[in-house]
Symmetry: C2
Subunit: 199 residues, 2 copies
């Protein structure tokens, strides 16, 4: 390796990792479809041909990034109290884990959440997301059966509202801002589980 392993260098001398991170940032600024390979290369400070030396297609960049995002989310789900914890506790851990993954991989998760299914690659990503959502919905349902979560809101709807709130973080959260990841996770858990109204 060269320096600090896989760190971004000053200018040319990109490796696949640095190129991927930079490309995902540009995709998130302007949208994947609206970003041409020419514009991407210009922003990265190299030629199209150099880009194609590292990735075989524009879509391969997308596929790699959303794959990493999905790996992270699935990992958070798998790591959430699979042991003896109650379903209510598991749900809280999944939410917390999802916020953590989202914050730690903000660019790739942002890109993932904007995928609409326009190609085989995008449809495969949507399918993995759908499977993830279904597993979470099952936990919400179990938490309802346990009595930990209110039963007067349908479990599928509750799941969608929860993840609507969590996923919306990509629209405004920036790691450079005043709010740290842990404080953010606490706010989300507070609003989602206890509500905003005072008592």
């Amino acid at each position: 390796m060269t320096d600090a392993a896989t760190a971004k260098r000053g200018r040319p001398g990109y490796d696949r990792r640095g190129l991927l991170d930079a490309a995902v940032s540009v995709f998130n600024e302007s949208g994947y479809d609206a970003t041409s390979v020419a514009a991407l290369a210009a922003r990265l400070g190299l030629s199209k041909a150099a880009l194609y030396h590292h990735f075989s297609s524009k879509e391969e960049i997308l596929e790699t990034a959303v794959g990493e995002a999905l790996d992270g989310l699935e990992g958070a789900l798998a790591g959430a109290g699979a042991g003896a914890a109650s379903s209510g506790d598991r749900l809280a851990e999944v939410l917390q884990g999802a916020v953590r993954v989202l914050v730690e991989n903000l660019p790739s998760v942002t890109l993932l959440l904007r995928v609409r299914g326009n190609s085989e690659v995008e449809r495969r990503a949507l399918e993995r997301r759908r499977a993830f959502d279904q597993e979470v919905a099952a936990i919400v349902q179990a938490a309802q059966d346990e009595g930990a979560i209110r039963a007067d809101v349908d479990a599928a709807i509750a799941t969608r509202l929860l993840f609507g709130m969590v996923n919306s973080l990509v629209e405004w959260y920036r790691p450079s801002g005043p709010e740290g990841a842990e404080a953010l996770a606490r706010d989300v858990l507070t609003v989602a589980l206890d509500g905003l109204r005072t008592r």
Copy 2:
């Protein structure tokens, strides 16, 4: 006029209204950028030239649709207990109004929420959204000062989480489904204000 005023007819014989609604649906399926005018015309069953007879550009379609969506949201804000009601009540009315507008204008609001700022038209739409968000944030702040809303979550963050939940409805809500608009608004208010946890 012809029939039922501005109703969609069987095939050719489009007017601007019917064409707009159909175009917005296609944009929402595949994304605005990824939808070519050729693909749009094909889906609508007419030629590109016929489309350009009704709209001077692809972007004019976008501008018209997101303008309608913004008109609706701003109307809901203006109509939300501007009178003597408490800020806590106003906030609940704004949330309910936003859900109603979103459900009644689901296609155009969906399109609006996906705009990223890639052109002057898009940037103007984002600016109107930002102004809307700021007005709502002021109501949340006032409701906190009143003691109606918990003060241990920053008002700006609370606003974003609230609208993250509301706006996420466009990702899954379909008017044809089992849940009506009023029941949906009630669920959103319940989760946002009282939380999912049982007490």
